[in-house]
């Protein structure tokens, strides 16, 4: 689905194709356990390394590009899996998406590290921007919003929030991100941050392996973390149903 109508000139089409190939080859390298390097990518494309500098201005930018695309592709996978449940059941969808997120992180720890554990320096504005356009972030935020529309779970009013947090939810770094949420409801974003922090924590812990492998294999830590969030999201009534979906999804490998 080409959202950009038609890249007009032939050169631009070719260039776009080369970008796609760079990403594809990079993903392939990572999947094989090799490490991502300009020379390896170029080599597999039948080019020499310096040629890649026509497309990317540094190794770090290649990493960023690949990370962004991996995030996009992975999110599409989770979304597809979640859509086994109807659109009016966002709680079920979020459950499935979280499990798939974890399974992706466990199955592809190198990719996960690239996308989610890649350190971003304080000053680096460019990479921060990429972060705020994160596809997965948008998806999880949307699901949380849809849940709220149904359960109306409580979230802090703006005047209850710490001033700095208030500012941060009112004017996110990239405006486009949450334009659709009216100012009075921005307290929702605080819930999102807190929930994301919990999810991120347990998944990163497991994906990087800083944990007893048996505990990881059991999935209990992840399960318990997710269940803790049913109540805050107003899903107490759905508890047994969601738990069933969660366990079924975990069992699916």
């Amino acid at each position: 689905m080409p959202h950009l109508p038609a890249p007009a000139t032939r050169r631009e089409r070719q260039r776009e194709a080369t970008y796609d190939e760079i990403v594809a080859v990079s993903a392939q390298l990572l999947a094989e356990g090799a490490d991502l390097s300009l020379r390896a990518v170029a080599g597999r494309m039948g080019m020499t390394a310096p040629a890649l500098y026509r497309y990317v201005e540094s190794y770090q930018q290649l990493v960023d590009l690949v990370a962004f695309e991996l995030d996009k592709a992975a999110t599409a996978e989770w979304r597809a899996a979640a859509e086994r449940f109807p659109a009016d059941d966002p709680a079920a969808r979020l459950t499935v998406a979280c499990v798939r997120f974890r399974q992706w992180a466990l199955a592809k720890p190198r990719e996960f590290a690239l996308v989610f554990a890649n350190p971003i320096a304080e000053a680096d504005t460019h990479r921060r921007e990429l972060l705020t356009v994160s596809t997965s972030g948008h998806y999880f935020t949307d699901l949380l919003g849809e849940i709220w529309e149904r359960t109306r779970f409580p979230y802090p009013r703006l005047d209850e929030l710490d001033p700095v947090i208030r500012e941060a939810v009112l004017e996110p770094l990239i405006p486009a991100k949450s334009d659709h949420i009216p100012a009075e409801e921005r307290g929702l974003l605080w819930i999102y941050m807190r929930a994301w922090s919990a999810l991120y924590g347990v998944v990163t812990l497991e994906s990087t392996g800083h944990c007893d492998p048996r505990v990881i294999a059991s999935g209990q830590l992840f399960r318990a973390t997710l269940l803790d969030w049913l109540a805050p999201l107003g899903l107490d009534d759905d508890r047994t149903r969601i738990t069933g979906i969660l366990d079924a999804e975990l069992a699916r490998d």
Copy 2:
């Protein structure tokens, strides 16, 4: 405090000193923002890179060694700060230790990544061992145990735990770790894992910068995460007092 009485022979003493210098120089390099490399370490010691192979069998092992020692040193710092509160106030000590852990992670993200975000492959037994001897892990476990001795907060009985988790808490990977906890009380370790996962999550999120910098600066995400754990640890009565300590410690930079 040399726990090994006297390294006996002169050679062994020299060797030990060289190890210490390797670690010291490595820490120095990291602190300067340079990256850790065999050549850089060797160079600064007035040696050539291959010489380091007499002490370490690979670059990864150098990283592990340095990570272990950084963890030890950092834990000593947090412990020293926490000991501003008396031994019979483990809740206050844990609060301070957690804040100091976070501040260390924010001030030295490279060191934090080395110690806590370094991916450990499933199969790699050697590195797993190092992990289970983690100094910081011991310290936090101990503090949690001391809190339990006072508040007797509830934890799952062994027969309530998932069988895999039961096995994991009964026979930790390295036995020496929690010998002092009687079998019936091993459910405590489950609480430890859950709390550690939450702490690890928010600190990793902040340290790697995958977050709005203003949110990080405010410390609110971290604060909220910690406060959520007061109730489960039976510290509801101490809530205002602990909150005060937490805020004071956060304000201390």
